[in-house]
């Protein structure tokens, strides 16, 4: 059975009396260990979809099954738990706490994960070393480059050993070389650490290289769906 399954997923934002449809009848499956990419134009609903999977937002209609649990049936605190332990998220704009250094940003996730204080520091250090930032532990986001910030964000996303990594345009703010390094880290996590990766990107070319499955979105709908064999 698939790790993630959506059936007829829809999301409509309500602004006063105006309904803004962001997603409509989205149905797909993601298997455990897959590298899954979502491509499409700006405003096509990619982030909305990712946020639904990540439990940051709730769907208006349809079903979304994550690891055999129905996200739409979860309470708010269960969703918080889902965000804490089941998924890790990274963003185009990194979303690190500016006033905290690399270690502290990772530790914040460990605090919410209930990791005891005495092993938090070591765990955060290990995670940052894993993404190649072992020598920049006490630097704040302002003192780090974009690529380095994204590495901190990845380390933080991995803090509570999630099943799935959700990346919303992780290379959107980076130059092509740095982008390549970040993609490489995601690929390594997927291939060697069996992490399921769901990535939103504009870059179809890269997506075609790394992905097992790609969906193309337009106006909140899936317009094309490619699998590994087709990609290759």
């Amino acid at each position: 059975m698939a790790l993630i399954q959506t059936i007829g997923l829809a999301k409509t934002y309500k602004k006063g009396k105006v309904d803004i449809p962001a997603l409509h009848d989205v149905t797909f499956e993601i298997n455990e260990g897959e590298f899954f990419s979502i491509v499409g134009k700006s405003g096509s609903g990619k982030s909305t979809l990712l946020n639904l999977i990540g439990g940051l937002d709730t769907a208006s209609a349809g079903t979304i099954i994550f690891d055999s649990k129905d996200l739409r049936k979860m309470s708010r605190s269960e969703l918080a738990n889902h965000r804490r332990f089941s998924v890790g998220m990274i963003f185009q704009s990194f979303n690190l706490v500016k006033s905290r250094n690399a270690l502290e940003n990772v530790e914040l996730a460990l605090i919410f994960g209930g990791v005891p204080r005495n092993i938090r520091r070591k765990k955060a250090t290990d995670l940052l070393t894993q993404v190649g930032l072992g020598s920049r532990l006490t630097h704040t986001p302002d003192e780090l480059s974009g690529g380095e910030n994204q590495r901190v964000a990845i380390a933080r996303a991995l803090a509570n050993n999630p099943k799935v990594l959700l990346a919303d345009e992780p290379t959107g703010n980076l130059d092509s070389e740095t982008s390549g390094e970040i993609i490489q880290i995601l690929r390594d996590l997927n291939k060697n650490h069996h992490l399921t990766v769901i990535m939103v990107t504009h870059d179809l070319e890269t997506a075609e290289i790394v992905s097992d499955q790609i969906i193309k979105m337009k106006d909140g709908k899936i317009v094309d769906q490619l699998t590994k064999t087709e990609v290759l």
């Binding site: 940051l56 918080a80 965000r83 914040l108 996730a109 919410f112 209930g114 204080r117 933080r156 996303a157």
Partner: protein
């Protein structure tokens, strides 16, 4: 997320905006400082008064007068009532009344009130002062049960007297050496001839009591003398030699005046001394006092619990009954009002500080919207986000309360110091105007926490409701 982590997180968040945290906390410090110093003044006054009551065993004391006087009516300025009371014929307090009072169950002691003025000579110094007569049996009651030196007289006929420490220092230029306490003579002391003495060395010293009495046979001569411009007063001087048997401890400022008399003399001895004038202020109420009747009678109970029973029996005897314990209820009510008023002023200061906390928290939430979004994205639940803000507010409230208490304490110390050095006549024991009971300290901390948590209620709820999707949208 456990509680220690929450505290650590709160501290690190507050530390990031040091100045703002400091100013907000300062508001609480001032609020709590105002509240505690105000309330501690109220409780201090109350403690001084009730302590004075306790130290003088006033709860076992009743004063009986010849007439029923409604002191409340007089206190409220009901002049008509007062005049009525003065005019009316009272029940003369004769020896048979005294005996009847003594027979009431629960009455331990009843003795007529007898005070008179006298000049005394002690160790070469002389002074005019007020002498009060008491039975030896009064020694079982405070403050007569615990003397500074010597012992209270036991016989009502002995020629022994008890002198107050204040009388020695203020009237007779004698300072007492005390155990532990440093007493030295100042320069002005030595100029005015103040002596430093050990209390025990005064015991057994002789006092000459000089009293005046009217000699009726001399009155015609006196009138003649006035016409011849060489007046001779129609008075006889009597000198009575008595010995000091004990020294009464200094009374606090608030215990002063409860019992008059600089010198306490045995009742029967006093009655035998020829003297002038009225015996007490209660006599003023009864100008038509009968010969052989007393102005007022002091009654002491065996137990304060028997107060009502004895009062009832006395009222049935148609005499005036005055108890200070009745007044205490009134005094307590007055203090309650005073305390509430002072407390309200302090509470207003604290509520203003609470508004400061709300302002700071709302500002902080606006600034930290993205951070809150991040915390939610990495798994922070609404309750945890809420708790973080509550803990931040509680930290401000708690630290503010602690330093506020310190501030309040400093203020009261300064006020006490100024009061004792500037307004209190020298030689008096220092007065403590303020009192910090444990309930006030704990109450101040609890109240501060309550106000700060209430202040955090809206900001914390607002923070918990922040939509992470909106908060995290890239700028």
């Amino acid at each position: 997320m456990n509680f220690t982590d929450m505290i650590i997180l709160a501290f690190s968040n507050l530390w990031r905006t040091k100045l703002r945290t400091l100013l907000t906390t300062l508001g609480v410090v001032i609020g709590i400082g105002a509240l505690t110093s105000m309330v501690s003044f109220g409780t201090g006054m109350q403690k001084n008064v009730t302590d004075a009551f306790k130290n003088n065993d006033l709860f076992t004391s009743i004063t009986v007068t010849s007439k029923k006087v409604n002191l409340d009516e007089i206190a409220t300025g009901n002049v008509g009532q007062m005049a009525e009371a003065l005019k009316s014929e009272g029940k003369p307090l004769t020896d048979s009344v005294l005996e009847a009072i003594r027979a009431i169950p629960g009455v331990e002691l009843a003795y007529p009130n007898l005070e008179f003025a006298a000049r005394i000579k002690l160790l070469g110094d002389s002074a005019s002062l007020n002498v009060a007569a008491m039975p030896g049996a009064i020694r079982q009651y405070k403050p007569f049960n615990d003397l500074l030196a010597g012992a209270f007289f036991t016989s009502d006929t002995s020629r022994s007297v008890v002198i107050r420490e204040e009388t020695l220092s203020s009237r007779l230029k004698i300072k007492l050496l005390k155990k532990g306490g440093e007493v030295t003579l100042t320069h002005s002391d030595s100029v005015t001839g103040v002596k430093l003495m050990h209390p025990d060395s005064l015991i057994g010293k002789t006092i000459s009591l000089v009293t005046m009495s009217v000699n009726k046979s001399k009155i015609p001569m006196a009138l003649l003398g006035m016409m011849r411009k060489n007046p001779e007063m129609p008075f006889d001087e009597t000198i009575t030699e008595v010995k000091i048997c004990g020294i009464l401890k200094r009374q606090g400022e608030f215990g002063r005046g409860v019992f008059n008399g600089n010198l306490i003399i045995p009742l029967k001895t006093a009655e035998a001394i020829p003297k002038l004038g009225f015996s007490s202020v209660w006599d003023l109420l009864d100008q038509k006092k009968k010969e052989g009747a007393y102005g007022s009678i002091h009654v002491r109970l065996s137990d304060m619990k028997r107060m009502n029973e004895v009062k009832k029996a006395l009222e049935e005897m148609e005499v005036g009954v005055f108890t200070i314990s009745d007044q205490l209820a009134e005094i307590k009510r007055a203090f309650l009002i005073l305390d509430s008023l002072l407390g309200a002023i302090g509470a207003i200061a604290l509520i203003v500080a609470g508004l400061g906390i709300i302002n700071t928290m709302v500002m902080s939430i606006l600034e930290r919207t993205r951070e809150i979004g991040i915390m939610k994205a990495i798994g922070g639940s609404e309750n945890e986000i809420k708790m973080i803000f509550f803990v931040e507010a509680a930290v401000i409230g708690f630290i503010g309360a602690i330093f506020g208490l310190v501030l309040g304490w400093i203020v009261t110390k300064i006020a006490t110091f100024v009061m004792n050095t500037q307004f209190l006549p020298s030689g008096e024991d220092p007065i403590n105007l303020f009192y910090f009971p444990v309930w006030l300290i704990l109450g101040a901390i609890a109240f501060s926490l309550l106000i700060s948590l209430a202040a955090a209620l809206y900001p914390a709820t607002r923070a918990a409701r922040i939509d992470p999707v909106k908060a995290l949208r890239h700028d």
